[in-house]
């Protein structure tokens, strides 16, 4: 039988590879850039406040400098006790930074664990795990936290652990869906055919290589939600108490003077909250649109 040969067309391999900066549209670049700006100023604020290297002390009361308007000396002005608002904003990051990290650690770690377990043992564990998670999901998050705060008056760290627990169901269901899709793929079967043990397939090929992006995105979004919850609690007066500054209680304090004409007291911290949360959400959104297109292209 005659065998046919044709010269194989020479393929330039570089044509197929789309680098990550070309994969992102202008909208993604802007949102990720803005998000990274927010993350970087949060980090700088936090470092300044834990090393206590303020130019103007946020706790120092100056009765002669009450209600100063924003100027070069006081960028955000001063409040009703003459304290510098910008310094207090910087100091306010302390209230949510470490608790927020704790909350997203709890939610991503437990969510990953429960999601993977329920995907790999669908008969035994999935029913139990998702029964419990659905119960958690059905309780309104903010009301649950308010009840916990009012009943037990715990520290902010314990509150944040509960915030993390309430966001487990979302992450776990995302991870389970992803793992179930991956489990049906050929490369998992090929891995089994190569003799890889089950836990290597679970932890390396599925979790580490394929669900990393979901976790990063959810961690970013979770940080935004945590800040929102902390500021709301402080605004309601059950979070961080005066005179320790927090973005929430600064807005709450400024609220009383809003209609007396001293608007920046409440507005400027609120604008910082808005910018920060918007930045974190946009960062998550931009990362999402980049990572999720990686597979299809």
């Amino acid at each position: 039988m005659k065998r046919f040969y044709f010269e194989e067309e020479k393929l330039n391999a570089d044509e197929f590879y789309v680098p990550i900066y070309r994969r992102a549209g202008a909208r993604d670049v802007i949102s990720i850039g803005f998000g990274l700006f927010v993350v970087s100023y949060l980090f700088v604020f936090f470092v300044i406040s834990i090393t206590n290297s303020f130019i103007k002390d946020p706790m120092q009361v100056h009765m002669g400098q009450m209600f100063l308007r924003p100027s070069l000396e006081h960028i955000f002005g001063t409040d009703f006790l003459g304290r510098d608002i910008f310094s207090r904003v910087v100091k306010g990051t302390e209230a949510f930074f470490l608790p927020g990290l704790l909350s997203i650690t709890v939610s991503t770690c437990l969510g990953l664990l429960l999601g993977v377990l329920s995907a790999f043992f669908p008969k035994v564990l999935s029913g139990i795990i998702f029964y419990v998670l659905n119960i958690i999901d059905s309780i309104p998050r903010f009301i649950l936290i308010l009840i916990i705060v009012v009943l037990f008056n715990p520290s902010i760290y314990i509150v944040m652990v509960f915030v993390g627990i309430t966001s487990i169901p979302k992450i776990a269901s995302y991870i389970r869906a992803r793992v179930e899709v991956l489990n049906r793929q050929r490369f998992i079967e090929a891995g089994k055919a190569l003799g890889l043990p089950q836990f290597v397939i679970i932890f390396k090929h599925v979790v580490w290589l394929s669900t990393k992006s979901i976790l990063i995105i959810h961690a970013t979004l979770g940080m935004g939600e945590t800040i929102l919850i902390e500021t709301s609690l402080s605004y309601l007066g059950i979070g961080v108490q005066e005179p320790v500054p927090s973005w929430g209680n600064m807005v709450a304090m400024g609220r009383d003077f809003f209609f007396q004409g001293e608007m920046w007291l409440a507005t400027l911290p609120a604008v910082v909250i808005l910018t920060t949360i918007m930045g974190l959400y946009l960062l998550g959104d931009g990362l999402n649109s980049i990572y999720n297109e990686k597979v299809s292209r």
Binding site: M1, F6, E8, L194
Partner: protein, 382 residues
């Protein structure tokens, strides 16, 4: 020396809707000599892939029934690891046949009932499966490796292919340093005739062409110097030129490494190029098995189905004589209806007159046409 001896393999799937068993394969058996190439041919739905997957122990669909004996000759290092778990909890028989062959399905008959009617599943199968997986840890990859139908999907989408190859090499060559691993990987890439291995190395599977990905998959499958390579339709989706190249590559690589190859395809022309023995399957049973020269070369005394397969793909000389490709009329019978007689009866041009009654009532046994050549057809009854 025989390296594989599969006997009486049965796989049934349970249809939960209709509450009955569907026959996937039945009475499949073959032997393979070391270094030989066996081609398995048949239409879609004939149980070729099921046979391959059940040999690897990758058949996951349950409830169902799997039975039979699978004698295999593992590498010397792995024998001890395999025999230990095989014998656990067994006192009566031994998993040996004779010589070096081990029955990897040993103990399966205790958990599967072979009574035809009614077929029953015994609850203990999970326990057997756990033990079986412990056995297969040392068989999959090291001793038997598999090439799947779709090369791009069988590579991890988030890792460069070179890294995947290197990791496989590293896994099967314990104690080799970085440079040795890299050199071995480069040798493998060269041996599968990849052009520009350096550029392919850092690419993701999604950006490779089918032929390139298939070469990488072959390289990965050969990384452990396995005894047996099962190639499940390695040419599906490739163009004609690449098909022949991949097949020739498989042949040369198998010859060079002294690997036994089980080649599964629906294209009999692809199989006849390299196979030394050919096995034809139809509707879950083996209808013919024998040496390649007997079946293809002489073209006499073959099963009607093999004849139909051959005339559906005429080769060059036949085309020059004016022969046209012929369609096999009809379709593969539904596996849900367990056919009593010969499954090819409805499409067979020879089943006329007195012989037809026989074909319909009892399934034909194997009749020896010549040495090693057996056909399941009453036409060859002496």
């Amino acid at each position: 020396m025989d390296i594989v001896d599969l006997r009486n393999l049965k796989v049934y799937f349970y249809d939960q809707k209709d509450k009955r068993f569907i026959r996937a394969v039945e009475d499949v058996g073959f032997t393979m000599k070391e270094g030989s190439i066996l081609g398995m041919v048949g239409e879609s739905g004939c149980g070729k892939s099921v046979t391959a997957l059940s040999m690897m122990g990758l058949l996951v669909s349950e409830p169902g029934l799997i039975g039979g004996e699978f004698f295999f000759h593992p590498k010397r290092d792995d024998r001890k690891n395999i025999i230990g778990p095989l014998l656990r909890g067994c006192t009566r028989a031994t998993p040996y046949r004779q010589g070096q062959l081990l029955n990897l399905f040993f103990g399966l008959d205790r958990f599967v009932s072979f009574r035809e009617n009614p077929l029953t599943i015994i609850k203990d199968s999970e326990k057997w499966l756990r033990r079986y997986n412990r056995v297969m840890e040392h068989v999959r990859g090291k001793n038997i490796s598999m090439i799947f139908q779709s090369p791009i999907q069988s590579l991890h989408p988030f890792l460069p292919v070179g890294i995947q190859l290197e990791k496989t090499v590293k896994r099967f060559n314990c104690g080799t340093d970085e440079a040795g691993v890299r050199e071995k990987a480069a040798n493998l890439m060269r041996s599968v005739q990849l052009r520009e291995p350096e550029t392919v190395f850092s690419q993701y599977p999604g950006s490779l062409s089918l032929g390139m990905a298939q070469r990488i998959v072959i390289a990965i499958a050969l990384a452990s110097n396995p005894r047996l390579v099962i190639a499940d339709e390695p040419t599906s989706g490739l163009d004609t030129a690449n098909k022949y190249r991949i097949i020739e590559l498989l042949e040369s690589v198998a010859a060079g490494k002294d690997t036994t190859l089980l080649l599964i395809s629906h294209n009999i022309r692809i199989v006849e190029m390299i196979a030394s023995h050919i096995m034809v399957m139809y509707a879950g049973i083996v209808v013919e098995r024998g040496p390649r020269n007997e079946i293809i070369g002489r073209r006499k005394n073959v099963h009607p189905y093999t004849e139909a397969l051959l005339s559906s793909l005429p080769d060059d000389t036949e085309i020059r004589k004016g022969k046209r490709p012929r369609v096999i009329s009809g379709a593969v019978p539904d596996n849900k209806l367990i056919v009593q007689g010969c499954p090819f009866l409805d499409r067979c041009p020879y089943a006329r007159g007195r012989i037809r009654r026989k074909c319909r009532s009892v399934r034909p046994p194997f009749f020896a046409v010549s040495e090693n050549h057996e056909v399941r057809c009453y036409l060859f009854e002496k």
